[in-house]
Amino acid sequence: MGFEKFGRFGYVSQTKINPLLSYLEKGQIAATRCKKCGRTYFPPRAECLDDRQSAIEWVVLDGKGSLITFTKVFFAPPAFQAETPYLLGLAELSNGFRVFAPVSPSVDEKQLKPGKELNLKVARGSRDNLFYWLE
């Protein structure tokens, strides 16, 4: 239990990657890495695809990235209607991982275009929920 704290409105409560929340609490964004082969996963996953018996460890990401694409949502699911309209983005982080995340309202929308450099930062919602966004 507990993972429903992730996101602006979480749907999934039970998972093996709960430790992500402790990193977010500390203001850090973390990936998982296979202790045997070193393959790293973000979003984090609990098992290595290549070494299924191996343990994983957590590594902190620097969050530097550039925007691939984005949209502004005007027609939202019920849990998000109070915040409408809002921006969603897809970015590529410096280590090659891609991340789907909201774009912080602090970003000037007129400056937003594919290729723009943005940083993935931890954000906290009003219900004590934790997530990350691009700013």
Partner: protein
Amino acid sequence: MGRVGIVGVGHSKFGKRNDASLRELAFEAYGAALDDADMDSSNIDSSVICSATHYDKQRSPAGVVAEYLGLNPQPTFNVEAACASSAVGLRTAWALVSSRLHDVMTVVGVQKMTELSSEEIQELMGRAGDVMWESPFGTTMPAYYAMYATAHMARFGTTEEQMALVPVKNRKYGSKNPNAMFQKPITAEEVLKSRPVASPLKLFDCCANADGAACLIIANAEKARKLTDRPVWVAGLGLASSPMSLAGRKGPMTSFEVTKNAAMSAYQMARVSPNDIDVAEVHDSFSITEILNYEDLRFAKPGGGTRLLEKGETELGGKIPVNIDGGLISKGHPVGATGASQLFALTKQLRGEAGSTQVDGAKIGLAQNIGGIGMYSAVTILKA
């Protein structure tokens, strides 16, 4: 493997069908397909019921649909692949018929969407993506496709005016389709002025939720020839998958790898190339989707989809008429029925029964059906 032929097709009226339940919609299409094939249920060995079952009030709808169609005690089951359910249903039935486990089967695509409250629909829409990593940020079906549109615009200079040509074209043909939900043409100005949904997509760039059903009856070659003198053959079946999460996908987000992969399999199996296709049905869930599909199916080069539209090459009389039954944008999109609806339109074309929208001498047709936000794509090639 033996050949498999389509021997009967049926289609209900699509739209807000508050006069009919799920099972009744299914019967409209199934009954029409039996009439079309001039047969009765005793000829059918097994049924595949295709729907995105989360929309249905009825749990495990194959049970009640097969009962209502008079298809007990023959085997029946549900196939679900979101918006591509009935294209995947045909693939499933094809395998059962070509393996000789069954001789004659029916594939029924059916969906009842408008019975849900708009609150329920919006809640479902919010879970269309990866519920662990993407839905918690407020994703919607249009938002995902809008992100492809933004990337295509930035890379190729595609404009909202060019995207508006898709609904203008499709609604023009929808006005000739009595089964379509929207039968009134639309202007580019109306599209451009409609309210924003997820930028750059606006209301009239988007297809609508609908109720409806479409049905195919298929048979092995021997039976097909006995049952009809005009079978349409299933020549190529391509299906591929892609990561459901957007972040799990590679490339510049200006094309669907999943469609390219499905197309490659289908062209190879049918031994045809994109130039051989006489008429096509592609998944126009949104204006941008049709443009990407032209490119992913290799009707146009990457970035060349808008040019094809501007030159009128996908109109009736053009090089490759696309969605001249009106597409999802005119017909509405009863998720589970859409794939079978596309194959209904192609079967009519290949038999020369498409009336005022008939493509002269059409011999080879292609249908392309995307599931959900692009995690599945099916390409089906039919030959007269």
